[in-house]
């Protein structure tokens, strides 16, 4: 049984020489929901970009057994869907429907199926009926949801989200959480929002200076105050994760 994501000994340096990733090892099982947390500059976003080949470093990166290399990019990018932090970067077409259809269109699917996927994806994020609208007219929360839909329409096996809850107001945050919890797909979330991570994920990985410094059940990780502090993190005021006891997952 293939791991959903397998990363072994991954190194990466920026064009100017700065080392961004240092011997990263990570294995994500199918269906798992994991959170990657760490201070700014730890290399989290850089790591994400290796998952679909936007960046390529030294080492092994495999998605469901397929190596992330040049001649597999097309397949990989259908299997790994990344929702980036700024929805405006991902909503570049003239209408919402066109944006959601962008992925499937590039996959070469027939028109009828594209329409179906667009419909399903928009429904999944609660934006059905907004297909004709221009991204510019949407609220930030709506844009985030549509951005998620643009990736969902490709029906990926691995869903990757970069700071999904940032800048969302409480209601939008809740709404997005409900959507993410309803999806049965391997999910990797990069976030600072520790409570959000705690609610969504079972496992957490701490990155610091391009390395993975901790990997374990999220309750345990977040309860380790010293571990968090050493890596530039801390729990929000008033938030106390319960070790060993977590809410029933739907």
């Amino acid at each position: 049984m293939n791991a959903a994501v397998l990363i072994k000994n991954l190194d990466y340096a920026y064009p100017d020489g700065t080392k961004a990733l240092n011997d990263v090892n990570l294995k994500v099982a199918e269906g798992e929901k994991i959170a990657i947390i760490g201070a700014n500059g730890a290399g989290k976003s850089t790591l994400l970009l290796h998952l679909n080949g936007i960046l390529q470093g030294d080492g092994v990166v495999e998605v469901l057994g397929t190596p992330v290399v040049d001649n597999h990019f097309r397949e990989i990018r259908q299997r790994v869907g990344i929702v980036f932090q700024d929805p405006d970067d991902q909503l570049f077409m003239t209408t919402v429907a066109q944006d959601v259809a962008f992925g499937p269109t590039n996959q070469g699917l027939p028109t009828a199926e594209i329409a179906e996927r667009v419909h399903d994806a928009l429904t999944a994020v609660g934006m059905n009926g907004h297909g004709h609208r221009t991204a510019h007219h949407l609220s930030f929360g709506q844009k985030k949801r549509v951005a998620t839909a643009t990736v969902l329409s490709m029906q990926p096996d691995v869903l990757v989200l970069d700071e999904p809850s940032s800048n969302l107001d409480p209601r939008a945050r809740r709404h997005l959480m409900e959507i993410l919890q309803s999806l049965h797909v391997t999910t990797i979330v990069v976030t600072h929002d520790l409570p959000y991570a705690y609610e969504l994920c079972d496992r957490a990985v701490i990155m610091s200076d391009g390395k993975i410094v901790a990997d374990g059940p999220i309750g345990k990780i977040l309860s380790d105050e010293e571990l968090l502090l050493t890596n530039g993190l801390e729990l929000p005021h008033g938030f106390f994760p319960v070790v060993g006891g977590k809410k029933e997952r739907r």
Partner: protein
């Protein structure tokens, strides 16, 4: 919040359609006759077709998002009115800016699209005049500006100031080239005789050109200081970021040789304005234009040059000299300003974007030319001046 309301008020006061009055380059319908429209249209189409091929080759699949966003930038920047000199206000054309940052052919496309949007959405520039407007602003603006920039760059000192001077001159020429072409187009169409369209357009645009030069120089200066990798084909000695940031105003060079570019430019300016009046050629040009235009009906030359009796319009004699003098003075002023500015802008800045704050400012696609970079994992690629297009071809990403 005070600042917010101030900003809102400012926005409301911001001139919205005012740019129409300063936008002498976007000729409306009716000012260009059918023949000229067809001719300029054909030339523009040809140049655009070539520009697309070239840009596609250079940028590959990054063409669309990059040019689109730059187009949006130029569009937004063109909205700004700025005071240039003594009550005149101008605005940025952006052709030179686009050419330096993206390369001349990409700039041709970007500026053309901006012009199309302005014509269609804002009625700024006529439909039949689109060929002429594109030729003037997008094609001549980008290409002549860039050509002059490269030329001057070769003879200028190999320093930051030299580079800035080249940009300044290129910017000025880019504006002037379009203006002069417009003057001729207007004359060929029989709308405004060359004797007036040329000095009028030339003198107005000398001032606008100065503004363009100043703004383009300072913008490039900023980009050079923080992200020299973004400038296409940046000369080697400026690529090293510390070099780009160092204020390198070479006083001694300017003391010895500075007079040369100044003299050259002044001569060029004078020649542009004075020559048409000194030579007999315009008479010939006018005759040709006349034959195309209305005088075909009248059967005789339409224009003669005698100022009429009781009204001394800035007649030819004085007008010419006054305009030439203004142009010369403007040129000198321009260079003084450029020199002063390149010193101020060249001040080294602290590292602007520490990686922690901007995780997204990594260069995922390496579409720029880097000098020294160690790139783990890409042993099969060479990094010397490969364009992004070539690189993606090598990656054969999309061959499945």
């Amino acid at each position: 919040m005070d600042h917010a309301t101030n900003a809102c008020r400012d926005r409301a006061q911001q001139p919205s359609n005012k740019r129409a009055s300063t936008s002498a380059m976007h000729i409306p319908d009716g000012f260009i006759d059918t023949t000229t429209a067809a001719a300029t249209g054909a030339v523009s189409l040809g140049a655009l077709a070539y520009a697309v091929r070239r840009t596609d080759r250079d940028l590959g699949e990054r063409t669309v998002p990059l040019l689109g966003v730059t187009g949006a930038f130029v569009f937004a920047a063109q909205m700004l009115n700025f005071p240039v000199a003594a009550g005149t206000s101008g605005h940025l054309l952006g052709a030179m800016l686009a050419a330096v940052l993206l390369g001349p052919w990409a700039a041709v496309i970007v500026m053309s699209v901006v012009l199309v949007v302005q014509a269609l959405a804002m009625a700024d520039g006529g439909i039949t005049a689109l060929g002429a407007n594109i030729l003037n602003v997008a094609i001549l603006g980008s290409l002549t500006g860039y050509a002059v920039f490269r030329l001057v760059g070769k003879i200028a000192p190999r320093s930051r100031s030299g580079y800035m001077v080249a940009i300044a001159v290129g910017s000025w020429i880019s504006v002037m080239a379009g203006a002069i072409a417009a003057a001729f187009e207007l004359s060929f169409s029989g709308t405004i005789p060359i004797r007036f369209s040329l000095p009028a357009m030339a003198s107005v645009h000398m001032v606008i050109g100065m503004g363009e030069a100043i703004i383009t120089t300072t913008v490039i200066g900023t980009v050079l200081a923080s992200r020299p990798d973004l400038i296409k084909n940046l000369p080697q000695h400026l690529r090293n970021s510390t070099n780009a940031r160092r204020p390198s105003f070479n006083r001694s060079w300017w003391r010895r040789w500075g007079i040369i570019p100044v003299v050259l430019t002044i001569s060029l300016a004078l020649a542009t304005i004075v020559a048409p009046f000194a030579s007999r050629a315009p008479d010939g040009l006018e005759k040709v234009a006349v034959e195309q235009g209305f005088a075909a009906a009248a059967g005789e030359p339409v224009w003669n040059l005698s100022p009429f009796s009781n009204y001394t319009f800035p007649g030819l004699g004085e007008g010419t000299l006054a305009t030439a003098a203004a142009g010369a003075a403007g040129t000198i002023l321009l260079f003084s300003v450029v020199i002063l500015l390149s010193r101020r802008v060249g001040r080294p800045r602290p590292e602007t974007t520490p990686k922690e704050d901007h995780p997204e400012s990594i260069h995922p696609l390496e579409g720029h030319e880097h000098t020294n970079h160690r790139h783990a994992g890409h042993s099969h690629q060479t990094h010397n001046h490969l364009s992004a297009g070539q690189r993606s071809a090598e990656k054969s990403e999309e061959k499945t």
